[in-house]
């Protein structure tokens, strides 16, 4: 289906035409497309931000990469190996290299246990034979790597720690393993402004030490701050992707343009136009035909032009957009 999948060479993590269809209703009588034919990849020591609003399917993509939810069609490959085929021991090995951190720091900890239990679990599952001394050194070094003082945070319950500390703790957990790829799903959106930058900087630092990161966010400014590549999702489809600078400064898709115009910035006022609102009657439009953005698109042509879903086309090196307007201009 998608041309993009074949155009880009294999990298550390490759998504190739990945879709997720949920079965809903009695005994799965109806289907709901959450992710629709998504292809992109993340290279070594690269931060890619996956940007989308609520319902765009960004979290589902993260969960599919982490093997927490099944893939309906397409494939996710990590260093060339199909992730969905991994089971049992192989899957555990996969988790040695690929880990995740989630949005809500308090939900990531079992409230009735101490926070450092997440370390113990890693030890039980991945390092059953390690001796205590070695293990403690390992913990120390990964805590230092995330900027936590072990004396301050070990042996405490989650509610005794701040959101920022908890998120760092989770990153430290991943570092205990031989982690190469981190899925960071909105990991700072619930933190306070004064602490979020610290965690963000930590991610950037880890990247410079060779870690690859999929940075999932709805906040455009965060994506811009940290990532080399940006993927814009709308209703489960990739509408635009490319080097961050180009996507942000020369957005091609009308949706991306709208996002850039609506994002509130300090020191730059919104341009006053007609207030645009959507009053969705039907939550999930039929994605099988037509561009997903058709009903909101200000530049949509007549129905026939946009009645089939546009595929991603490379308009400049590395910069892809899925919009008939762009393709038409090209040809």
């Amino acid at each position: 289906m998608s041309r993009a999948g074949r155009q880009v060479p294999e990298e550390m993590l490759t998504l190739d035409g990945v879709s997720k269809v949920y079965r809903v209703g009695t005994f799965g009588g109806k289907s709901l497309v959450a992710v629709n034919d998504v292809s992109f990849n993340v290279g070594d020591s690269e931060v890619v931000s996956l940007i989308g609003e609520s319902g765009s399917g960004k979290t589902t993509i993260g969960k599919m990469i982490l093997h927490l939810t099944s893939i309906s069609s397409g494939a996710i490959r990590f260093n060339g190996v199909d992730v969905s085929r991994l089971n049992g021991g192989a899957r555990k090995e996969y988790y040695r290299h690929v880990q995740g951190v989630f949005q809500d720091p308090f939900s990531s900890y079992n409230p009735i246990f101490k926070a450092d239990r997440i370390f113990r679990t890693i030890r039980e599952e991945f390092f059953p034979k390690i001796d205590s001394h070695e293990w403690n050194e390992k913990i120390d070094s990964s805590m230092r790597a995330v900027g936590l003082n072990p004396d301050e945070v070990l042996n405490k319950f989650p509610h005794q720690l701040s959101g920022g500390q908890l998120q760092r703790f989770l990153i430290a957990r991943a570092l205990l393993l031989d982690v190469q790829f981190l899925v960071a799903d909105e990991i700072i959106s619930m933190l306070d402004a004064s602490t979020r930058v610290g965690v963000l900087n930590l991610l950037a630092e880890l990247k410079s030490r060779g870690l690859s990161i999929l940075f999932i966010t709805h906040d455009l400014s965060l994506g811009y701050y940290i990532s080399q590549k940006s993927v814009i999702l709308y209703r489960g489809c990739v509408v635009e992707m490319g080097p961050t600078e180009q996507v942000y400064h020369h957005p091609l898709h009308p949706y991306t343009k709208m996002l850039m115009a609506c994002v509130p910035r300090l020191g730059m006022k919104w341009e006053c136009g007609e207030i645009e609102v959507t009053n969705p009657k039907v939550k999930q439009p039929d994605l099988s035909s037509g561009c997903a953005y058709y009903d909101r698109c200000p530049v949509a042509g007549n129905k026939r032009d946009c009645s089939t879903s546009p595929s991603l086309v490379e308009v400049e090196p590395g910069h892809f957009v899925a919009c008939w307007r762009q393709t038409k201009q090209e040809s």
Partner: protein
């Protein structure tokens, strides 16, 4: 809407089929010849035993394949044929049940509806003040824990035996024949009060507790706080909360029906009230398996029907089910 009811009907249908199947299977899959065992246990005279034996050998049709027996059972059921009673041989079970059912309706319908209404009202009052809550709620918990039959016995002893206020046995005076005379209706009413009261009081406790807990939850809901912040009077906030708290109570009514029917059986036994519960006791004491089986099937069908009616009513009062269904359909 169709999907919602389809699902509900499916559950009821499966339940019904299962109940009938259990009913059919139990005597057949027990070791030995079921007819012989049943008749031997009934302890009938030799002569009638023989007659009954031949009747039931035919009815059970043990000589045809098992699936055929099962099919025959269903066919008979749809013809309203529940077999013949051993205890009142040769009266058909169906006929005996038909005579008992009016008493059950007379007793259960008012008891269920009135206790539900009163319990909900009082539960809502209880949530209103600390004082009421501290008196009504513990009382309601104790009522909820009272076995129906024990309350019945207490009432019979206190009001009937000690104070001679009300009769406590049968549905009407022994000296009367059923008729549409005032004196008969008066007698019927007098005999009805105590069994009704024991059913009413126990259920009342349960509903009051349920409503109290629900309405407190609703009063803490966001929409209640919003109304309060906009200065809406207590009355409006409470009436919304009451209405919304009532919805789970309707579902609760459907789910509690089985237990209520069980309580009614015990109550009828205490007061020798000639409903199906009393029949069941007779059937057990006389080892009349067919009467027992028939009565039980009848109750199951009744409960399932009532459940379905409550589901219908629920859709009428809760717009969310309707709207959600439209979206789905």
């Amino acid at each position: 809407m169709r999907r919602y009811f389809g699902r509900k009907l499916l559950i009821y249908a499966i339940t019904f089929v299962l109940a009938v199947t259990v009913d059919w299977a139990i005597p057949r899959f027990m070791p030995g010849n079921p007819v012989e065992i049943l008749i031997a246990r009934a302890g009938l005279k030799a002569e009638s035993a023989k007659l009954i034996y031949s009747y039931y050998m035919k009815a059970f049709g043990l000589n045809v394949p098992i699936w055929r027996q099962y099919l025959n059972f269903w066919i008979a059921l749809f013809h309203g044929d529940l077999g013949v009673s051993l205890w009142l041989f040769p009266q058909p079970v169906m006929k005996i049940i038909k005579q008992a059912v009016p008493y059950d309706i007379l007793l259960l319908l008012p008891a269920i509806l009135l206790s539900w209404l009163a319990g909900n009202k009082f539960g809502a009052y209880a949530a209103r003040s600390k004082w009421l809550d501290n008196t009504i709620s513990p009382l309601a918990y104790i009522l909820q824990a009272t076995p129906y039959m024990w309350l019945g016995m207490l009432l019979a002893w206190l009001c009937g035996v000690r104070l001679h206020l009300l009769p406590f046995s049968g549905a009407y005076s022994n000296a009367m024949m059923p008729s549409f005379s005032w004196s008969f209706v008066w007698s019927l009413l007098q005999h009805w009060i105590l069994p009704f009261a024991s059913l009413f009081i126990v259920q009342f406790g349960g509903w009051a507790i349920g409503m109290r807990n629900m309405i407190i939850y609703e009063l803490e809901a966001d929409y209640s706080h919003y109304l309060e912040a906009l200065g809406a009077p207590r009355k409006l906030v409470r009436s919304y909360a009451f209405h919304n708290a009532l919805l789970p109570q309707i579902t609760g009514l459907a789910l509690q029906l089985g237990a209520i029917v069980g309580g009614a059986l015990a109550t009828e036994i205490v007061f020798s009230y000639p409903g199906i519960g009393f029949l069941i006791l007779q059937a057990i004491q006389n080892h009349d398996y067919f009467l027992l089986q028939g009565s039980c099937l009848f109750i199951i069908i009744g409960v399932l029907l009532a459940n379905f009616l409550i589901d219908l009513a629920y859709v009428l009062v809760d717009p969310r089910t309707r709207v959600g269904m439209q979206g789905e359909g």
